[in-house]
């Protein structure tokens, strides 16, 4: 070996000891070499934390799949909710119909003595008579 080698090795080892001494006092970080492509997102990056265009990432794909799965579960749950809401809507419909029925009964009472109501009652009686005739085999004509 030439003259410089032992000196270089001494310098190297001294530097190493200094590194270890200094290093013990802090927490490590990742140094990025100066001439390399800088870290972090580029101009066309979709995400702020992206470093390079991800062509394929199985972890990300798995995350997507699990996200899709959770969406599916959520959708199914929402379907169940929809059924429940359909049931609720049915109840509302029934209630509305009941209200209309009550209103109709009120209207009947209020129109009880009117000529139109009397005519309507006569028409109903005549219809009942017709049905009776059909059942008993007699013709109205």
């Amino acid at each position: 070996m030439r003259n410089l080698y032992p000196n270089c090795l001494k310098v190297f080892l001294t530097g190493l000891v200094l590194f270890l001494l200094v290093g013990c006092a802090g927490k490590p970080f990742d140094y990025h070499p100066v001439s390399e492509i800088p870290k972090g997102p580029g101009l066309f990056s979709d995400k702020e934390d992206e470093d390079g265009k991800v062509v394929y990432d199985s972890k990300r794909n798995k995350a997507k799949e699990s996200s899709r799965e959770s969406h599916r579960v959520t959708d199914q749950q929402s379907d169940v909710k929809t059924d429940k809401s359909v049931g609720d809507e049915g109840k509302v419909q029934d209630y509305k119909e009941f209200q209309e029925y009550q209103e109709w009964k009120e209207w009947q009472k209020s129109k009880k003595d009117s000529d139109e109501f009397k005519e309507f009652q006569e028409w109903r009686e005549w219809k009942s008579y017709q049905e009776w005739q059909k059942k008993s085999g007699l013709s109205a004509e």
Partner: protein, 355 residues
């Protein structure tokens, strides 16, 4: 010793391959593409003539890369890095008198495969030697325009004397004595021992390197990054040389930062050149500014003092987009007493990381 190193290296590869073959696939796969365009306009005045160039900034050239990895079980990851650069009229190759677009071609940077785990990382292929980057540690935020590698800005520009006669180029007289870059090698990096990582590599011509890197953050003191590397080129270069390069960069929480670099080389039967570099900077939000000085002694000719003074400014205007401007004054004092003109270089441009 080198034969033992080589045997040990091959043994390591065989061991790793065996573990890989016995491992069961786990299917944690990642594959990414990224890249950048780094273009600038550069004004050069060699003291006799001046010229305006449209260049690719060689501080961090235009390039793209593919990075992929897969966890293969037993805590082991296998990965690949494929990185190619394409520079049209590189800033490191221009010289006054050039009037065309210079050369433009794909050049190799990194083509490597690696295996990593709790035991560290083994890399095979083309890429950085263990000591590469150890003389260039920099936390100033202005390294895209000024850093210890002063040849990247205008290394091929020629110093001329007062009559305009060429003397020598900047890069012949300047060097930061960094490790071997872009070589076909086998490299091993230890896992982080606290904030410290140790590395070694062997390459063609039996050249080998050692390095230690530190990156730590201390409350109230800020970040400190440092590295030291040793290179022995053995039969790889003629003449053979031993080299040591070290650098440290400190970034205080206030944004004030200081960077120092030192390197020396013992060339077989030649000189023992030395390089010193210092940079003082300040980072405020998306902006960073710095001033620097550097000097290499005795590289081309015993007694040479080749120095530079510079300033740099970088504005991170948008995600992945930087605007920058820098200035350097290169000087050469030669013992022969020649009256060598100073070289002034002004560069302004943008680096756009597209992914």
């Amino acid at each position: 010793m080198k034969k033992n190193v080589i045997k040990l290296s091959f043994l390591s590869v065989i061991t790793i391959c065996s573990v890989v073959l016995l491992s069961a696939p786990v299917n944690a796969v990642s594959f990414k593409v990224s890249g950048q365009i780094n273009r600038a306009i550069e004004y050069v005045d060699n003291g006799d003539e001046s010229e305006l160039f449209h260049v690719d900034n060689d501080n961090s050239s235009t390039r793209f890369r593919f990075v992929g990895s897969e966890e293969i079980g037993h805590g082991m990851t296998v990965g690949i890095v494929w990185e190619t650069q394409f520079e049209s009229n590189s800033s490191s190759t221009i010289d006054v008198g050039q009037n065309d677009d210079g050369t433009s071609e794909f050049t190799e940077r990194i083509f490597e495969a690696y295996f990593s785990g709790t035991w560290g990382k083994a890399t095979i292929g083309q890429g950085d030697g263990a000591a590469n980057g150890t003389a260039e540690v920099d936390l100033s935020g202005t390294s895209v325009v000024t850093y210890a590698g002063v040849n990247d800005m205008a290394g091929s520009v020629t110093f001329v004397d007062s009559s305009g006669a060429p003397i020598t180029t900047i890069s012949t007289t300047r060097n930061q004595f960094d490790g071997l870059s872009r070589n076909d090698r086998l490299r091993y990096d230890t896992p982080k021992l606290g904030p410290v990582t140790l590395s070694t590599s062997v390459t063609n011509g039996d050249a080998w390197e050692l390095a230690a890197r530190l990156s730590t953050e201390m409350e109230g003191l800020g970040k400190i990054a440092a590295a030291i590397g040793y290179v022995d080129t053995e039969d790889r270069t003629t003449p053979q040389y031993d080299q040591i390069g070290a650098s440290i960069s400190w970034l205080h929480d206030t944004g004030v930062n200081l960077t120092l670099s030192y390197g020396t080389r013992d060339t077989d039967g030649g000189t023992e050149p030395k390089n010193f570099y210092a940079k003082l900077g300040y980072i405020h939000g998306k902006q960073a500014v710095s001033i620097e000085w550097g000097q290499t002694d005795d590289l081309a000719v015993e007694g040479d003092e080749s120095s530079s003074y510079g300033a740099g400014y970088v504005y991170n205007i948008y995600k992945g987009v930087e605007l920058y401007a820098g200035y350097r004054l290169y000087e050469l004092d030669r013992a022969s007493g020649l009256n060598i003109e100073d070289i002034n270089v002004l560069m302004a441009g943008t680096r756009v990381k597209f992914w």
